[in-house]
């Protein structure tokens, strides 16, 4: 019996840490709608600072706790710096853009940490005076974990006090409920944003620093925590303080007792829990704020994409001709890289239809890319199909999956929808990972090479080009079809669209299926381009890559995904060949692009063209007058 008590206590300790790490994310999102992808990096930096400072000062308990507090404050200051210099510039921009910017920050911080602390794992000292264990009904339990059990509720109580009995806290709560009214009452939202961002980063740093006596500090700490922190925030309800606490504790207990029943549950447990909670209680355990994550700001700047003018048609034709003629001048490697960029463009085009036009943000689009890749690979591997039928099976498998998941997802809105897509993608990922008999597990499926006329680099390149161009043409056709306009209407004026009798859910569901099918087609091509498929095709990294591409390219233009794919893939391949610090450079370039042109590369180019043609028209007008 005592064993179960200790197991429950261990779960509480784990839950406390998880709460500390997630609380900043939920507060920041609740107030400013910033999806902070760099939050896990704050945890990592907190861990490294905690290691350095405890090694330097922790001769006694006082020094140890001072070092931990100092680390947390330093990370808070870092967060403040990032908010002031970067995030602040993006509050007016589409909200998803902050995701892209913080993604870049995360890349930079990872390589920066490697430069400062080196690649080796760092195992710090145990907490002075707390290194041993106490017997709890006869079973030893680490004293330090007992302290952690207490820290979680203490932090919750302190934050509760802060938000309920200080002027700052009340203002933050007011702004979380209604930003405009709060601003109209004379409270400067910018100061609140900075304050909450610093608070969130401080607790992330604290969570990281408190890990020093428990585990080695590694460069992978950022990714290890960020996804689970998101899960906590979703299960608890976005912006809800007690919700985050409850969710963190629930996850702690589910993990603690889940592994007693099904030891293999470790990969999928939290995501299955999140999916269940979202289906049963759409806004989390403690109803969080309803937040429509708008991919694009609903401002007058939003307008229907213009049909291509003569110059654009000419440019497109020239680009297509150039791509078709590429095999005449390029070597096989160049063809391979361009083919990969085309596949990514196809993947992103579907996502763009969903996110840019439909306004449905998916954090789990890798699910459909992966279903396509596995669909193709499994039919080749198990059924002995050749490439052509496998490439037909790929989008069908993905569209079927999208039809199934989409039916559940479109019942939710905003960030909850996004997180539900993530949950489904993670569940598929763990299935691919663990269903070894079917998928080969993490050793993947090998030998999926193109056959016949497409076996060589040129043949496969031309095949990819033809498929990708067809897919892109289909997306364009859809965007300008009545369906496309209805989808846009449902995004930009949902109430009016509904009043006009548009079946919004059906529209969203159809968009899901189309985007899934396109991603599946891209995934199928990718399987043949690489010759092998691994669970990584279903990973969060692929979903994020898709979002980065469409945001880099620009959400307002249909050429965005193509330009974004070309820029991102080109940068990544070239930088990775040039330097091992590719994350640093890629992150810096992403930040520059985000700050220079919040409308993406296509948006910036479009603005330039408009300015040029506008000036010409004005000049022409002046001539006439």
């Amino acid at each position: 019996m005592s064993v179960y008590l200790v197991q429950a206590l261990s779960g509480v300790a784990a839950g406390s840490v998880l709460f500390l790490i997630s609380v900043g994310l939920t507060l920041v999102f609740g107030l400013s709608r910033v999806v902070n992808f760099a939050h896990g990096s704050f945890v990592m930096v907190g861990g490294y600072l905690g290691y350095t400072l405890t090694e330097a000062f922790a001769t006694g308990p006082l020094g140890f706790w001072a070092a931990i507090a100092l680390s947390a404050l330093a990370v808070g200051a870092l967060g403040g710096l990032i908010e002031r210099t970067l995030i602040r510039r993006l509050y007016g921009a589409p909200e998803l853009l902050t995701l892209l910017a913080t993604f870049g920050v995360g890349l930079i911080l990872k390589d920066a940490a490697r430069l400062v602390w080196g690649p080796d794992d760092l195992l710090g000292a145990r907490a002075p005076g707390l290194g041993g264990s106490v017997a709890i009904v006869g079973t030893p339990f680490p004293t330090y974990d007992l302290v952690l059990c207490a820290i979680g509720p203490i932090v919750l109580a302190l934050l509760w006090l802060l938000f309920h009995s200080t002027r700052f806290g009340l203002a933050v709560r007011a702004a979380t409920e209604d930003r405009e009214i709060t601003a109209a009452l004379g409270i400067d939202p910018a100061r609140l944003f900075t304050g909450v961002f610093v608070l969130g980063a401080t607790f992330a740093g604290l969570g990281g620093a408190l890990q020093v006596p428990r585990q080695a500090i590694t460069l992978d700490l950022d990714l290890a925590w960020i996804v689970e922190a998101f899960v906590v925030v979703v299960i608890g309800g976005f912006g809800s303080l007690p919700g985050a606490f409850l969710a963190a504790q629930l996850i702690g207990q589910v993990q603690a007792f889940g592994i007693l029943i099904v030891p293999e549950i470790t990969l999928v447990g939290v995501f299955a829990l999140m999916a269940v909670v979202l289906v049963v209680r759409p806004r989390g355990l403690i109803g969080g704020v309803v937040v429509p994550v708008r991919a694009a700001a609903a401002s007058p700047a939003t307008r229907a994409p213009a049909r291509a003018g003569a110059w654009q048609r000419l440019g497109t034709a020239a680009a297509v001709a150039g791509l078709a003629a590429l095999p005449l001048v390029a070597d096989p490697y160049r063809l391979i890289v361009v083919a990969e960029a085309l596949i990514l463009a196809l993947f992103a085009a579907g996502l763009h239809l969903l996110v840019g036009i439909g306004g449905l943000v998916s954090f789990g689009h890798a699910a459909y890319f992966g279903l396509g890749a596995y669909g193709a690979a499994l039919t080749v591997h198990h059924l002995g199909w050749s490439m052509t039928p496998a490439l037909v099976a790929a989008p069908l498998a993905a569209a079927a999956g999208a039809a199934l998941f989409g039916a559940v997802c479109v019942r939710r809105h905003g960030i909850y929808l996004a997180m539900l897509t993530l949950a489904f993608a993670q569940i598929l990922w763990s299935a691919a990972f663990q269903w070894t008999a079917l998928t080969g597990g993490d050793n993947g499926i090998l030998g999926i090479w193109p056959d016949g006329w497409a076996a060589g680099p040129t043949g496969f390149y031309l095949l990819t080009l033809a498929v990708a161009l067809t897919g892109l043409a289909v997306v364009r056709r859809i965007a300008f079809s009545p369906f496309g306009f209805a989808l846009r209407a449902a995004n930009e004026a949902p109430a009016r669209a509904a009043a006009l009798g548009l079946p919004i859910r059906a529209l969203h569901w159809a968009a899901f299926v189309i985007a899934g099918g396109l991603a599946g087609l891209a995934g199928g091509l990718y399987a043949f381009a690489k010759g092998s498929v691994f669970p990584q095709v279903l990973s969060v990294a692929v979903s994020v890559q898709g979002l980065v591409i469409i945001l880099l390219g620009g959400l307002q233009a249909l050429s965005g995904p193509v330009i974004g794919a070309a820029v991102f893939h080109g940068l990544e391949t070239e930088i990775m060949r040039a330097t091992e610090l590719w994350r640093l450079w890629l992150g810096a370039l992403i930040l520059i692009l985000v700050l220079a042109g919040p409308g993406g590369v296509a948006g910036a180019a479009g603005a330039l063209v408009r300015r040029w043609t506008g000036e010409r028209e004005r000049a022409a007008g002046a001539d006439r007058s």
Binding site: L122, P140, F141, R214, I336, G441, L446, S532, F534, E580
Partner: protein, 419 residues
């Protein structure tokens, strides 16, 4: 103004040209006639791919290892009768899709005659598949998965480091001697963890039919919830534990396990924990008494190893890790293989590797013709803490040749196309 600038550039350019000419004359003057031939000869280009930005703590020592080997090979006159060895190295960031792209780049653009490297098993498998498609020899350096040489083996792929099976077999030999029957296992939840536990179970059952397995835990790689995992293992009251976790997971498991008394009076048999890469970060908290596979770099006194260690420390100012040895032997084996083949022809090189023997810092290593697995072994011993850091004691070298199934047995494991 412009004129000044141009003349300045011209001056700098002339100075640079002069310096370059001077250097060329100097170096030409100091090189004897025989070496001039070697320099003039076409270098033999080897393509190398590893996860330098993905898992730098392991791959950076590995890179230093092969850099040392390349210097030594070239100082001794290169390969194939005087051609220098040149390594074209790439970083796959730990991603199989990137590795596939880079492998194709190295083959088609850089015109390498052979591929080598990789750390993660799935990356190694992806590259081996490319190698088979392009009929390009591939020497996998570090991946452990048995699939690489057995169930998914192919004609063009060889592997250096002792596989999961071999390392499990080495530990089973020790585990079978322990006076215990009730075992619990803990392993990361992916292919390496699952196959290590499966081999341990089946090989132990052969030697000890009385062994039972009463609990197993599969923490997610890099995310072990160590406290609850330790408690779940303790709940089954095993007499001994077989551990496969490593890296950051291992550190957490060791800390929680010792605080919660899991290792009290319980022998632990643990894969790879004696490797400096994993033992180093544990510092004084290295778990004493664990039976491990590893590399006691500071205690091996064979002339071959001492020479390697001294050269490595002299050049890089730090002791070698296991990755350093793997990198060193990888490139040494490539040089030996090329010389044995007598040409850079892919088929000739692949044939030359079958049965290739060379001396290494660990002793003689042979690439088996039957399954393309090298017989490089590992050191098996116990952990102790001395002077604030973990060391292996009572160790012995387990020659890989003694821990591999017979040629007939592995022939059945490999696909028909690989024979």
């Amino acid at each position: 103004m412009f004129g000044i600038l141009v003349s300045g550039i011209l001056k700098t350019g002339r100075a640079a040209l002069g310096a370059a000419l001077g250097l060329a004359v100097l170096s030409g003057g100091s090189i004897a006639g025989k070496d001039m031939v070697a320099i003039a000869a076409d270098p033999v280009r080897v393509g190398e791919i590893n996860s330098y930005s993905g898992i730098p703590a392991f791959t950076l020592p590995y890179r230093q290892g092969w850099q040392l080997a390349v210097s030594e090979v070239n100082a001794a006159g290169g390969v194939l009768g005087g051609r220098p060895l040149e390594v074209v190295s790439r970083d796959d960031a730990g991603r199989p899709d990137v590795a596939v792209r880079l492998a194709t780049e190295l083959i088609t653009r850089e015109r390498v005659v052979l591929l080598a490297g990789t750390f993660f098993s799935h990356v190694g498998l992806a590259v081996s598949d490319v190698a088979a498609r392009y009929r390009m020899p591939f020497l996998a350096a570090e991946p452990l998965s048995d699939a690489l040489t057995w169930s998914r083996g192919n004609r063009y792929t060889y592997r250096l480091r002792p596989s999961t099976y071999m390392q499990a077999a080495m530990l089973v030999e020790e585990a079978a001697k322990l006076p215990v029957t009730r075992w619990a296992t803990v392993a990361p939840n992916y292919e390496y963890g699952h196959s290590a536990v499966a081999w341990f179970k089946s090989l132990l059952a052969e030697r000890r039919p009385d062994a039972t397995f009463v609990a197993e835990q599969w923490p997610a790689l890099g995310k072990i919830e160590a406290g609850t995992t330790v408690q779940a293992l303790a709940l089954a009251e095993p007499e001994a534990v077989f551990n496969v976790t490593f890296g950051a997971d291992l550190a957490r498991f060791v800390r929680e396990g010792s605080q919660r008394g899991l290792f009290r009076d319980r022998p632990v048999v643990s894969l790879l924990t004696g490797e400096p890469e994993y033992l180093g970060p544990l510092g004084a908290e290295a778990p004493e008494g664990w039976i491990v596979t590893g590399y006691p770099w500071d205690q091996i006194g064979t002339p071959a190893h001492t020479a390697f260690r001294d050269a490595y420390q002299a050049r890089f100012g730090e002791p070698p890790r296991l990755g350093s040895v793997v990198g060193y032997i990888t490139l040494a084996a490539i040089a030996a293989g090329l010389d044995r083949a007598g040409s850079t022809d892919a088929e000739a090189v692949v044939d030359a590797f079958a049965g290739l023997e060379l001396d290494s810092p660990f002793g003689p290593v042979r690439f088996r013709a039957a399954d393309h697995q090298a017989t490089m072994g590992a050191f098996v011993g116990r952990l102790a803490v001395e002077d604030g850091r973990g060391r292996m004691v009572d160790w012995r070298y387990a020659d890989g040749a003694d821990y591999l199934p017979s040629a007939d047995d592995v022939a059945a494991l490999r696909p028909a196309s690989a024979r």
